[in-house]
Subunit: 247 residues, 2 copies
């Protein structure tokens, strides 16, 4: 069997190798969105040499809550669900990481949440220690990392409002508008909202059951505010939805 005639399994490996070589920052589509944007070309080069290019297939767990953590990630493509589990199985998704997002802001000894790849995910992996040392010699990167953390904190506080004080309909709409805005920074689209996560994931993010999420989608679709597509939703009345989310 030659390299030309690969089995499906091998082909899958070929498009999602678990580790690649460095020197890919030049044409990295996440660069402008990620912490890297703070670096000069020669600094980017230095950081690149510390990185290991990873690829996770769909559904793979990247790391788990409470495990010792000695690496951090910069997501370069795909979507990741971040979640905390209670002993009795209840789950709270604390966020979805997209292209350009950084995993490992807390820099603690152990992971404070688990992370699963939703679809195929590519990421730059760094040794936590090496990355931390790099930060010490590159204050600009630390500044940007801190800006990322501050922004994440703001997002988290906004999520508290959604979880604590919003109705089911408002939750779903706020989720869609928020995700739309994040996608738009990545791929520019402002009405198509890809939903790589399941209804269960959305429910566990919003503090709702899967049934309630489904009912709200149906309700919004019936009133022509959106249409449900195979891979997400298309917003028909963004202004109306934004009004609900702002309420």
């Amino acid at each position: 069997m030659t390299g030309i005639h690969e089995t499906p399994a091998l082909a899958s490996l070929a498009i999602c190798p678990n580790s690649r070589s460095g020197g890919e920052c030049d044409h990295c589509q996440a660069r402008k969105l990620s912490v890297c944007a703070a670096l000069e070309p020669h600094e980017l080069n230095a950081l690149d040499r510390l990185s290991r290019k990873m690829c996770f297939p769909a559904r793979e767990t990247m790391f788990e809550q409470d495990e010792p953590s000695d690496v951090v990630y910069n997501i370069t493509s795909g979507a990741v669900r971040l979640y905390k589990l209670l002993p009795d199985g209840r789950r709270q998704i604390v966020g979805f990481a997209l292209t350009g997002d950084f995993l490992g802001l807390s820099m603690g000894e152990r992971n404070v949440f688990s992370a699963d790849a939703l679809g195929e995910v590519t990421a730059c992996q760094f040794s936590r220690k090496q990355f931390s040392d790099f930060l010490d010699t590159h204050p600009h990167l630390l500044r940007r990392l801190h800006a990322f953390a501050s922004h994440e904190l703001s997002i988290a506080q906004e999520q508290m409002v959604i979880l604590g004080r919003r109705t089911a309909e408002e939750k779903v709409v706020a989720f869609l508008i928020g995700l739309r805005n994040r996608w738009s920074r990545i791929n520019g689209s402002t009405v198509n909202v890809p939903l790589p996560m399941t209804r269960q994931d959305i429910g566990d993010f919003l503090g709702l059951t899967i049934e309630t999420v489904s009912r709200m989608f149906t309700k919004l679709a019936k009133q022509k505010s959106l249409v449900i597509t195979p891979d997400g939703v298309r917003l028909l009345e963004p202004a109306r939805l934004e009004a609900i989310a702002a309420t």
Copy 2:
């Protein structure tokens, strides 16, 4: 009328002057808890010269959501409620700041939440610009500030679990245990939990109504897990409560 016989208003001013002179870091009880702990004596001195010692009387608003923000605060004593308001009046308290906490992590152009002093509050105020410039020349402080932001992010994510996936009883218990742990770092007590905030505040922090909060307190008191005191609660069965909070 002489200076000796002050009116109550003046006396109140005397014990809570709105601005004091610098050079008080030596005997500041918040120093070890706050971002300042990252600084060498001479650096602390330099930062001290940038600070304005403030005192806010009970119930005073320190700053408001959406207002332009050009100062940051380091809380040196007292308790502050941080909250976001929806246009229709619904309120979500996103946190309570205690001694040693830093207000202004997000470093944005405008405040993302409002802040009210719950009791008398003292704080070091800094010009946002000056503080930011100081960070540029003191990477150690930036490191510590980032550690603070990361920690806050963890707390916020834990609060998401509480808001999204916990019952009313679990919410109240988790709140009490969490607050107990924070007080213990400040004043060492591990069973007395001062509650400078109202039931309404607790409800708006946990996504509950004042009635539900009150009922949960009553329930916990009836089963002898705690006693309600004039200024808070005393935990009688901390282990039992911790078990509920950990569930």
